[in-house]
C-alpha cells in the first residue's frame, strides 16, 4: 500500500489536531447523562459499531488512533481497519456527546479517514460498487431508470418546477421516489402540501441525486461534482424554498451545499413545514390515530440538523396517538444502522442495529415506531419482527383524511 503525501490538503492533515487531542475519555461511547434519561443500562450505548464489536477501533476514540497511525506511517490498510471504518454509520452520536465537553469533533476524523481511504484507492468497498455504478449509469443509487423518478406523481397535478415557477421546490430524493415501498408515502407527503395550499412543484425525472451517500462514503470528488450540478439547477429555478422529506438530502442541501455556494433559497425539511401548517390551521388532524407510538430521530435530521421538536409537535397534534419517548432519543438517539453506506456493505449489521432499536421501543411500551427518514424506514421495516414502522407523513395524512391509516 502506498503511503499518502502529507500535503496541507490531505484530509487527515485537516483533522490531525483532533486525532492527537483526543483525551480517550470514552464520552463518545455513551449517551449524555441527562437527569432521568440514563435509567436503563441496556440503552446507554450511542455508537452502534462500537457496541457491536467492542474493540476501541470501532469507536470514535479508536478512529483517532487509526488516524494517528496513518499519519505517522505506523499503520497500513487492512481488512479490519476498513471494516472498523466502514461499519461506522456516521450517525454523529460521538460528535453529539463529545463536543459539548471537549470542543472536539471526533466525527470529522472519521469523515477524513474515509476521504483518505478513497484517495488511497482502498475505498469505496467492493460492496459499494453497485451503488457507485448505479449513480454513474442512472444518476441514483437504486439502479432505477431516471424516468421512474417521476412515476409516483402521475395524475397528482403537481407543477413542473422547471416550467411552472412554483414558490417551493419539493425535492423528493432518490429513495422516496424510487423505492416502490415508499412512493405511497411520497404521494401522501405531496398530498398534504396540496391540501394545505402550498405552491410547489417537482423536478420529476430531471431531479438529480443530492450526493449524500457518496459524501458519507468518502468520495468527496464525486460528491462535489454532483453537488455543483445540483446547485446550478436549484439556483436556476428561482424558488424561494426547497423542501424535502428525506433526512439525508436535507442535511446535505441545508448543511453541506452552502459550504460550496451560499444558496438563494431556504432549505426546510417537510416535518418543519408540516408542523407549521398544522400550527397555522392549514392542516387539521381530526381523525383518530389510536396507537402507542415512539419517534425514532433520524441522525441526519436530529443530530446533524437539530430538528427534534417539529416531528414531535406533529405527533402531539394527532388525536388518539400516545407518544412515548425512548431513553435514547433526540441527541441521544440510537442510529437505525443504515447510514453512510453501511446497509449497502454490511446489511447484517444494519439489521442488528435496527433490531436493537425495536427492542428499545418495545421495552418502552411502544407498539409503533415512527420515523421521518426513508433510509431509517427502509432499514427498520426490513428488520422488523412484528413491530409496525410508520412514516410520520402517513400518520398525519390519515388524520387529515388523505387515506392511508
Amino acid at each position: 500500500m502506498s503511503k499518502f503525501n502529507r500535503d496541507p490538503y490531505d484530509p487527515l492533515m485537516q483533522v490531525q489536531k483532533w486525532a492527537y487531542r483526543c483525551s480517550k475519555c470514552s464520552l463518545c461511547k455513551y449517551i449524555h447523562v441527562y437527569q432521568g434519561q440514563y435509567d436503563d443500562p441496556r440503552f446507554v450505548d450511542i455508537c452502534p459499531s462500537g457496541k457491536r464489536w467492542r474493540f476501541e477501533a470501532y469507536y470514535a476514540s479508536g478512529k483517532q488512533d487509526i488516524a494517528r497511525g496513518l499519519l505517522t506511517d505506523q499503520l497500513e490498510y487492512t481488512d479490519t481497519l476498513l471494516h472498523a471504518l466502514y461499519t461506522c454509520t456516521e450517525c454523529g452520536g460521538c460528535m453529539s456527546v463529545c463536543a459539548p465537553y471537549s470542543g472536539k469533533d471526533p466525527l470529522k476524523t472519521i469523515t477524513a479517514l474515509r476521504e483518505r481511504a478513497v484517495l488511497d484507492g482502498v475505498a469505496p468497498l467492493p460492496e459499494h460498487e453497485p451503488l457507485f455504478k448505479s449513480l454513474e449509469n442512472f444518476g441514483n443509487p437504486w439502479q432505477a431508470p431516471k424516468q421512474k423518478r417521476a412515476a409516483w406523481a402521475k395524475k397528482m397535478g403537481i407543477k413542473d418546477a422547471l416550467k411552472d415557477s412554483p414558490e417551493v421546490l419539493f425535492y423528493t430524493g432518490c429513495t422516496y421516489a424510487l423505492d416502490s415501498n415508499l412512493t405511497d408515502t411520497l404521494k401522501l407527503a405531496a398530498g398534504l402540501m396540496q391540501k394545505a395550499g402550498v405552491d410547489f412543484g417537482i423536478l420529476g425525472d430531471k431531479e438529480l441525486c443530492c450526493g449524500s451517500t457518496v459524501l458519507r462514503i468518502g468520495d468527496r470528488k464525486t460528491y462535489e461534482r454532483m453537488a455543483r450540478e445540483n446547485i446550478e439547477m436549484l439556483e436556476s429555478l428561482g424558488v424561494k424554498t426547497v423542501v424535502t422529506g428525506c433526512a439525508g438530502c436535507y442535511s446535505v442541501l441545508g448543511e453541506e451545499y452552502p459550504e460550496i455556494q451560499k444558496p438563494s433559497y431556504k432549505v426546510v425539511h417537510l416535518v418543519e413545514m408540516l408542523a407549521g401548517l398544522v400550527k397555522e390551521g392549514a392542516l387539521e388532524p381530526k381523525a383518530e390515530v389510536a396507537m402507542k407510538a415512539t419517534y425514532h430521530d433520524p441522525c441526519h435530521l436530529g443530530r446533524y440538523c437539530g430538528i427534534y421538536d417539529a416531528p414531535r409537535d406533529i405527533l402531539a397534534s394527532l388525536p388518539g396517538l400516545e407518544l412515548v419517548e425512548m431513553q435514547r432519543s433526540r441527541d441521544n438517539s440510537w442510529c437505525c444502522g443504515a447510514g453512510a453506506g453501511v446497509r449497502t456493505a454490511f446489511p447484517e449489521f444494519a439489521e442488528w442495529a435496527a433490531k436493537e432499536r425495536f427492542y428499545e421501543a418495545s421495552e418502552h411500551g411502544a407498539e409503533v415506531l415512527v420515523t421521518a427518514c426513508p433510509f431509517c424506514e427502509q432499514n427498520l421495516r426490513g428488520a422488523s419482527d412484528g413491530m409496525e414502522v410508520k412514516n410520520i407523513f402517513e400518520l398525519l395524512a390519515s388524520s387529515v383524511g388523505l387515506g392511508g391509516e
Binding site: K17, R21, L27, H32, E56, A57, R68, G69, L75, T80
Partner: protein, 511 residues
C-alpha cells in the same frame, strides 16, 4: 508443562498464544490486527505509545483465569484495562503482550440496599451504577470523574480525590475484591477471603492484605469483581459558593480546615476563577467573557440532609464558617446561573461532573496531582506559578489554541481524609499535536514533580496522577526499603513478571 520464554518479536509465539486464547473467548473477541492494537497504545498522558501484541475481551472471571494461565505458560505480559480511560498510562502495555480489555465485564451483580453495598464487575461505569443505585436512594461516591469512569478501578487505584474528607480516599469504600492472581488462582480480599463470611467486615483475616492491591494497577493480578460501600442519597441538597477575592491562598486553607474539622458537607472543593468559567461554559470565548465576573477563589460546597431542617442547620453552620474566615457568599442568582450553565451535564457529582470540559483547552489537560498538607498549599502554588512563568511565559489561554499563562495557572483543592490532609492539583495544558509544547510540558512536569517531592508532597499512586508521566521514576528512588519490599513481594507473587510489567517503576524486578 515446560516453561517457554517469550520473545515478543516471534510472531509464531503470538499466533500460538492467539490460538489458545481463541479457544477461551472465541474468535470474535480477540485480535492482533494493527488497527485494533493501536487503539490501546496511547492515552492522554506523556507515556510513550506502546502497542500490545494481542487484545482479548473476556466475558467472565473464568475466562480471565484461563487467559492469565496461558500468558503465564508463555511468560507473556498481561495488561488489564477496565474502561480503558486511564489518563496516566495505566492501560498502556509497556511490554506489549496481551491487553486484557475487560469492557465486556460490565455487569452489576448485586445491589444490597440493606448493607449499603454494590457488587460489580470491573467495567461498570459510574453513569450506570449511579442510576441503578439512585432507584434505591443510594449513590456511589464519584471522585469527579466522568460518567464513563469505572467505579471499581477508580476506587481501587485511587481515582481523583473524593469530594469531601468524610469519604476518605477510593480504597476506603472497598468491602472486598476478587483477584485473578498471576498463577490463575483466585484470591478474595476482606472478610470474603473466608467462604461464607462475605460482607461481615471490610478487614480480612489479619494481617489484612487488601492494601497490597490498592493503587497496584494490576501488577499483582486482575481484579474481576468488587463489593464497595454506597451511601444514602440526601433528600435535600443545597449548593453554596463562598468566595474570596485574593491571590493569597492561606485563607482558603484555613476555611477548608474548619470544614474538615466540622465534617458536615457532602462535597467540597476549591476552584479558581478560570476553572470555574471553563466548567460553566461550552465555549472558550464565553468562558473568557465571564471569568472576570467570577471571584478569584471559590469554595464550592454541597450540603445535604434528610430534610429541609437538617439542610438549613448545615447551611447556618456553613455561613458561620464563611463569616469567621472572611469569605463572602456568592449571591444565589449567580450560583443559579452557573448551576444552570453546568446543569445539563452535572449529574453524579454536581459541579465537578463537568471536569471533562477542561480538555477542550489546547487538547490535553495535564495535572500534577498529589497529597499534601493545607499548610503548604499557598507556598506550593506560588512556586508552581514561578515554574509556569519559566516554562509557559508566552501563552494566552483566551486564545483557545494556547495553553494558559502562568498568571492563570490554577490550583484545585479538596480536603482529604483527616485534619490538614489535602489533595492538590496544579494544572497545565499541552497539545500532543505540537511537539514543542510536549517538550515544554515534560520539562515543566519534571520540575514541578521534583518541587512537590522536595516540599513534602506525596504521589499516592506511584505511577503518577491524571495526565502525568511516570512520576514513579522520580518518587520511587526516594522510597528506599519500602520500594525494595514491594519489589520482593512482586517477585514472590508474580515470579515471571507477567502482570503489568514496568507499571510501578519498582526496583530490580521491574526493570
Amino acid at each position: 508443562m515446560a516453561v517457554r520464554s517469550y520473545d515478543p518479536t516471534v510472531q509464531e509465539t503470538v499466533e500460538q498464544v492467539m490460538g489458545l486464547l481463541q479457544e477461551v473467548v472465541g474468535e470474535e473477541w480477540i485480535s492482533n490486527d494493527p488497527a485494533i492494537l493501536i487503539g490501546y497504545s496511547k492515552d492522554n498522558s506523556f507515556e510513550t505509545a506502546k502497542k500490545p501484541h494481542v487484545v482479548v475481551l473476556p466475558e467472565n472471571t473464568g475466562q480471565v483465569q484461563e487467559i492469565v494461565r496461558i500468558a503465564g505458560r508463555f511468560g507473556m505480559a498481561v495488561t488489564p484495562a477496565s474502561t480503558a480511560i486511564n489518563c496516566a498510562g495505566g492501560c498502556i502495555p509497556q511490554r506489549g503482550g496481551i491487553l486484557l480489555d475487560l469492557r465486556r465485564m460490565d455487569r452489576i451483580l448485586e445491589i444490597d440496599a440493606e448493607n449499603m453495598t454494590i457488587t460489580i464487575e470491573p467495567a461498570v461505569r459510574f453513569g450506570v451504577a449511579q442510576n441503578q443505585l439512585k432507584r434505591q436512594g443510594l449513590y456511589a461516591v464519584n471522585p469527579s470523574g466522568p460518567h464513563t469512569a469505572g467505579v471499581a478501578t477508580n476506587h481501587m487505584d485511587k481515582g481523583i480525590g473524593m469530594p469531601a474528607n468524610k469519604y476518605g480516599v477510593g480504597p476506603d469504600h472497598i468491602v472486598s475484591m476478587t483477584f485473578v492472581m498471576p498463577d490463575g488462582e483466585i484470591v478474595k480480599t476482606g472478610s470474603g477471603a473466608l467462604p461464607g463470611a462475605e460482607k461481615v467486615c471490610v478487614e480480612g483475616p489479619g494481617p489484612d492484605m487488601s492494601g497490597l492491591f490498592h493503587s497496584s494497577m494490576g501488577i499483582f493480578g486482575v481484579m474481576t469483581e468488587m463489593t464497595t460501600q454506597v451511601y444514602e442519597w440526601p433528600k435535600v441538597e443545597v449548593l453554596k459558593v463562598a468566595t474570596f477575592e485574593s491571590e493569597d491562598l492561606n485563607p482558603v486553607t484555613e476555611f477548608f480546615y474548619d470544614i474538615t474539622r466540622e465534617d458536615f458537607v457532602n462535597e467540597c472543593s476549591h476552584l479558581q476563577d478560570a476553572y470555574f468559567s471553563w466548567f460553566a461554559t461550552e465555549d472558550s470565548e464565553v468562558a473568557a467573557s465571564i471569568v472576570d465576573y467570577i471571584p478569584r477563589n471559590d469554595a464550592i460546597v454541597i450540603l445535604g440532609g434528610e430534610n429541609e431542617e437538617e439542610a438549613r442547620l448545615k447551611e447556618e453552620q456553613f455561613l458561620r464558617l464563611v463569616e469567621r474566615n472572611g469569605y463572602e457568599l456568592m449571591d444565589d442568582g449567580t450560583v443559579d446561573m452557573l448551576s444552570e450553565m453546568i446543569g445539563d451535564i452535572a449529574y453524579e457529582c454536581k459541579v465537578l461532573q463537568s471536569t471533562m470540559r477542561v480538555t477542550r483547552f489546547y487538547g490535553s489537560f495535564q495535572v500534577v496531582w498529589f497529597n499534601s498538607s493545607l499548610d503548604r498549599v499557598s507556598d506550593l502554588h506560588k512556586k508552581y506559578q514561578r515554574l509556569a512563568d519559566k516554562h509557559f511565559r508566552d501563552n494566552d489561554w483566551r486564545n483557545w489554541d494556547k495553553p494558559f499563562p502562568p498568571t492563570e495557572v490554577t490550583v484545585y483543592t479538596q480536603p482529604l481524609e483527616f485534619g490538614r490532609s489535602v489533595m492538590l492539583e496544579l494544572d497545565f495544558f499541552i497539545s500532543f499535536d505540537d511537539s514543542e509544547s510536549v517538550k515544554r510540558g515534560l520539562a515543566f512536569g519534571y520540575d514541578a514533580i521534583n518541587m512537590v517531592l522536595d516540599d513534602g508532597g506525596m504521589f499516592d499512586r506511584p505511577y503518577g496522577g491524571h495526565g502525568s508521566f511516570n512520576f514513579g521514576t522520580l518518587q520511587t528512588p526516594r522510597l528506599g526499603t519500602y520500594a525494595e519490599l514491594l519489589a520482593e513481594l512482586k517477585r514472590d507473587i508474580d515470579p515471571r513478571n507477567i502482570m503489568a510489567p514496568g507499571r510501578l517503576n519498582l526496583p530490580v524486578s521491574q526493570t
